[in-house]
Amino acid sequence: MSNEDIQKGLAEIVEEVAGVAADDVTAEKSFVDDLDIDSLSMVEIAVQAEDKFGVKIPDDELANLKTVGDAVSYIAGKA
C-alpha cells in the first residue's frame, strides 16, 4: 500500500471519528493543534487504523504520532 493510499484511508477514519473533512487531513497537520482531536479520539482513530491497515499502534507509540504524516510513516513502516 502506498503512502498516498494510507493517508487517504487515514483521512476517512479521521473524518468518521472526529468530523474533520477528509480533504483537511493532510500530511503536515498536527492532530491536536490543527485538527483539534483529543486524546480519546486519537485512541479511536488508532483502533480503526489497526483494523484497516493490520498494524499495532500501542498508546505509547500513539503519543509520538504528532502529525498525519507521522502516522502515515508509522503505518507504512509496520504494514
Binding site: D38, S39, L40, M42, V43, V47, D59
Partner: protein, 325 residues
C-alpha cells in the same frame, strides 16, 4: 455411608424490585470550573457529564446503601425480614473492616442476615448480581438484596481535574428472588489483571488514578464482545435486547460500545442508558441506579429485556441479561 442433603435448585431467578439513592448536593460543571482549571464544554466533550452528586458531610456509604436497599425491598413487596442475604458491591469503603453489608443489613431490619461485600470495582454490581442469583437458584438464600454503593469522593483528589470531574456518590439496589422462568441470564465475567495499574488507588494515602487512554481502548474494544456473549448464553438474539445499561463510565465509551452492538444486530431503537449525564460515574452504583431511573422515566418497562454490562478496575468485567421487573 450417609448422604448429604442439599436444597433442590429453583427453575429461575428474577429481579423482584429495585431502588436507588443519590445525595442532595448537585455539583455542576460550572461549580467545578470555579475550583479547578476546567470548563463545561471540555467536560461534556470528554466524558459527557453535566451534573453529579456528592455526599454531604458525615453522610456515609452505608447510609446511602441502606436507603437504596430499603427502597428496593419496598418495591419488591417484601419485608426486610424476608431478605435472606445482603451483598454490597463497593470499592470505596473508608476502612477495609468492617464490611458495609453487615451494617446495611442491620439498618434495614434484615437482622442477622448473611452479609458480605464484593469488590470488583465498576463491574461489582454485575458480579454481585450473578452471585446473588446463583445463591437463590441453589437454595442458599430465598431472597437476596444486591446493592452497589460508592462514596468515590472519599478517594478522589478534589483538585485533580482528570478524576474529580468524573466520579460521584450514589447507591442502587435490586432484590433477587425465585422466578417461574429464568429472568436473570447467565453471567459472562472475567478479568485482566495484567492491566491492574490502569485504574488504581495505590495505598491508603492515595487518590484514584486512571490511565485514560488505556482504559478507553480496553473498554471500547473488549467489552462489546462480552456483552454479545451474555446475550447468546441466555439464548437470545441481540435484536431481542430492548435496553442496554452499561456501567456509566464515560458517555463516549457507552456510545461506542452501543455502536458496536448495533453493528452486530442490536436494534436502532434499543434504549441506551445515559444516566451518567446527571449522575457522573458512580462505579458499582451506576447500573442499578440507571435501571431505577430509566424505569421511573418510562424508558424501560416491566418485561423488557435489559443487557447489563459492568467493567472497570481490576481490570474486571461482568455482564448478563435481565428482565425489567
Amino acid at each position: 455411608m450417609t448422604t448429604f442433603s442439599i436444597p433442590a435448585a429453583t427453575t429461575g431467578t428474577r429481579i423482584l424490585g429495585m431502588g436507588s439513592y443519590q445525595p442532595e448536593t448537585i455539583v455542576s460543571n460550572h461549580d467545578l470550573a470555579k475550583v479547578m482549571d476546567t470548563n463545561d464544554e471540555w467536560i461534556r466533550e470528554r466524558v459527557g457529564i453535566v451534573n453529579r452528586r456528592f455526599a454531604g458531610k458525615g453522610e456515609l456509604l452505608v447510609d446511602m446503601a441502606a436507603e437504596a436497599g430499603a427502597k428496593a425491598i419496598a418495591d419488591s413487596g417484601l419485608q426486610p425480614t424476608d431478605i435472606g442475604a445482603v451483598i454490597v458491591a463497593t470499592c470505596t469503603m473508608p476502612s477495609p473492616i468492617p464490611n458495609a453489608a453487615a451494617q446495611v443489613a442491620e439498618r434495614m431490619g434484615s437482622k442477622a442476615a448473611p452479609a458480605f461485600d464484593v469488590n470488583a470495582a465498576c463491574a461489582g454490581f454485575c458480579y454481585a448480581l450473578a452471585t446473588g442469583s446463583d445463591m437463590v437458584r441453589s437454595g442458599s438464600a430465598k431472597n437476596v438484596l444486591v446493592i452497589g454503593a460508592e462514596k468515590l469522593t472519599d478517594w478522589v483528589d478534589p483538585t485533580d481535574r482528570s478524576t474529580a470531574i468524573i466520579f460521584a456518590d450514589a447507591a442502587g439496589a435490586v432484590v433477587v428472588g425465585e422466578g417461574d422462568e429464568p429472568a436473570i441470564g447467565p453471567v459472562v465475567w472475567g478479568s485482566a489483571g495484567d492491566m491492574a495499574d490502569a485504574i488504581a488507588i495505590a495505598d491508603r494515602n492515595s487518590s484514584i488514578h486512571q490511565e485514560g487512554q488505556a482504559v478507553f481502548r480496553w473498554a471500547t474494544t473488549q467489552i462489546a464482545p462480552v456483552a454479545i456473549r451474555a446475550v447468546e448464553l441466555a439464548g437470545l438474539e441481540l435484536s431481542d435486547v430492548d435496553a442496554f445499561v452499561p456501567h456509566q463510565a464515560n458517555l463516549r465509551i457507552i456510545e461506542l460500545i452501543a455502536k458496536r452492538l448495533r453493528a452486530k444486530g442490536a436494534r436502532e431503537d434499543m434504549v441506551v442508558a445515559r444516566d451518567i449525564v446527571d449522575s457522573g460515574n458512580t462505579s458499582s452504583a451506576s447500573i442499578p441506579m440507571a435501571l431505577d431511573h430509566m424505569r421511573a422515566a418510562g424508558e424501560i418497562s416491566s418485561g423488557d429485556v435489559v443487557l447489563l454490562m459492568g467493567f472497570g478496575a481490576g481490570l474486571s468485567y461482568a455482564g448478563q441479561v435481565v428482565r425489567c421487573p
